[in-house]
């Protein structure tokens, strides 16, 4: 907005929120969230998360990293509404999250594609569930399948696809509902390194990496769980570092690298940020591995 054209009162409000973005109501508000669940196998209580406070701005790309067992996935499932927190509340656009809803799209770690549905059947499931008529949802699914580069594979079943193709299919399925919040649980973990780098670039493109301005509300808000620190630095505006046993908020790292980021992988600033985040979780990650191998 050109400030000379705006009424003074709006200009003041606008500059205030630009200086203090946290004053704008966060699209996602995680307040004092803890989660304890009882293991169905051993019957013991496991405290997966404790006292997590986090506000996510509209259009922000937030990455969540931490050693294994830090409750990253638990946090995501609470935001998705698959489970209720034991303590605290999760609010999405001011309303307490109780159930999943199409506005909060989820991409699962192992994709969770429906094996009995084709690529087309998977992608159109969201619109189908919301009652969109056949012609419109087919059209929408077709557009998305082209967008993620799966044209020609519409009638294949998931088991006939490569890992990278399944990943694209899962992404298209999530996008079909045009969610405002993308909840992604290690979506790129199960593909090889080269495929991952290509998919990272595509993800950034789809999210709007090259579009002007961050946090303007035009981009979707993303909560991206990953164990790849370089991936977090490449993609995110902020990186949330979780500690383990129980999972709690350890640090929030601002990623001030300019966008578009697709060529940022080799810059010195990029490397410095990766090392910084790694230094925050290294000790616990080492301990996590030691515990797992014992």
């Amino acid at each position: 907005m050109d400030p000379t054209l705006a009424p003074p009162i709006l200009d003041i409000a606008g500059s205030a929120s630009a200086m203090e973005p946290t004053l704008a109501p966060p699209v996602l508000d995680i307040a004092g969230v803890g989660k304890t669940y009882v293991s169905t196998r051993t019957g013991e209580s496991i405290e997966a998360l404790r006292g997590v406070d986090l506000q996510v701005r509209r259009g922000e790309f937030l990455a969540v990293v931490g050693p294994s067992g830090c409750g990253k996935s638990t946090l995501l499932s609470l935001v998705a509404g698959f489970a209720a927190p034991t303590t605290g509340t999760v609010r999405f656009k001011g309303r307490e999250v109780r159930e999943p809803e199409p506005a909060r799209g989820v991409m699962f770690q192992d994709y969770a594609l429906f094996p009995w549905r084709t690529v087309l059947g998977n992608v159109e499931f969201g619109p189908f569930a919301r009652g969109v008529d056949r012609t419109r949802r087919r059209e929408r699914a077709g557009d998305l399948i082209r967008l993620v580069g799966l044209e020609g594979f519409e009638h294949r079943y998931p088991h006939e696809l490569s890992g990278g193709m399944r990943q694209r299919c899962a992404l298209a399925r999530m996008l079909a509902n045009e969610p405002e919040l993308w909840l992604m649980d290690e979506p790129l973990a199960a593909v090889d390194l080269q495929t991952r780098m290509i998919l990272q670039d595509e993800l950034l493109r789809l999210w709007g990496d090259s579009a002007a301005g961050g946090g303007t509300g035009e981009r979707p808000t993303v909560l991206f769980v990953t164990h790849g620190i370089d991936e977090a630095v490449l993609l995110a505006d902020r990186i949330v570092v979780l500690g383990r046993r129980p999972g709690r908020l350890k640090a929030v790292v601002e990623v001030d690298l300019p966008r578009p980021r697709t060529d940022a992988r080799t810059s010195p600033a990029f490397t410095r940020l990766v090392e910084h985040v790694w230094s925050l979780i290294r000790d616990e990650a080492v301990r996590a591995i030691a515990e797992e191998t014992n």
């Binding site: 698959f82 999943p100 989820v106 969770a112 569930a129 998931p158 399925r173 079909a176």
Partner: protein, 260 residues
């Protein structure tokens, strides 16, 4: 091994066996007690031509299909409920496990007492035999439903009804169809046993062609035709093979995503 050998070798073995068998029975003069190939073929042709075999077969098959259907209607929902609710599983496990352990044909005397020497008694036994494979497999199928698929459907906007139709049903279908194949094999096995057990009485009541089992009893005690008995045995085997092949084919058609 060439195609001719693969087909030729077993065929030659069978032909040789039939020949030795035929000669053996005729040479020994045991035609009344021992069946022989040409006699079995002749009996088969006669019983097919006069409609006896077909009438008995359709009587048995009809009861098997109804019993199988009853088994599915009770067994599938019950199994899905048991697999979904561990508390229900715990609560009724003593009942299901003990009932399951009683061989279906052990119920025949009780069934005859309650339902009389009619087809209904056999139907009861068949339904009893069919219900447990459905319960066991549907329960296991429900336990194996991937939570992530349910969550994915919910996150995409599916309510409970759509989750049931679009996730639970297709997830459980492969195992339920496996259960159906076992149930069908059990049902077909018990119908013959049940009809054999109640058949002789039915023959006395003038309902001699109620089923293959009854017909076999009549053939044994009234006609004393060993060749016809062997023909019925072959029919029973062929039907069971055809049913299983049909169900296997149905699995392929109904579950295209499992074809690899």
């Amino acid at each position: 091994m060439t195609w001719t050998l693969r087909i030729g070798l077993p065929s030659a073995t069978l032909a040789l066996l039939a020949l030795v068998w035929e000669i053996g029975v005729r040479a020994g003069g045991a035609q009344g007690i021992a069946p022989y190939p040409s006699g079995v073929i002749a009996a088969g042709l006669r019983l097919i031509a006069d409609g006896t075999a077909l009438a008995a077969l359709s009587g048995s098959l009809g009861r098997v299909l109804i019993g199988f259907g009853i088994g599915a209607l009770i067994g599938v929902p019950l199994g899905l409920a048991i697999g979904t609710l561990p508390a229900l599983d715990r609560a009724i496990r003593p009942i299901t496990d003990s009932l399951r352990s009683i061989a279906p044909i052990a119920w025949i005397p009780m069934a005859i007492l309650w339902l009389g020497v009619r087809g209904d008694a056999a139907l009861f036994v068949v339904a009893y035999a069919a219900v447990f494979p459905f319960v066991v497999n549907a329960a296991q199928a429900a336990r194996l439903v991937d939570r992530a698929h349910v969550n994915a459907a919910r996150a995409l906007g599916a309510g409970p009804g759509l989750v049931l139709r679009s996730v639970i049903v297709p997830s459980t279908l492969p195992l339920v169809l496996t259960g159906a194949r076992i149930a069908m094999a059990f049902a077909w096995g018990s119908i013959i046993a049940a009809e054999l057990a109640i058949g002789i009485k039915v023959a006395g009541h003038g309902r001699s062609v109620a089923g293959l089992g009854q017909l076999m009893v009549e053939t044994l005690y009234v006609q004393r035709d060993v060749n016809a008995l062997v023909f019925y045995m072959l029919v029973i085997g062929a039907v069971s093979f055809a049913i299983d092949a049909g169900l296997r084919h149905a699995q392929g058609v109904l579950l295209p995503w499992t074809r690899r």
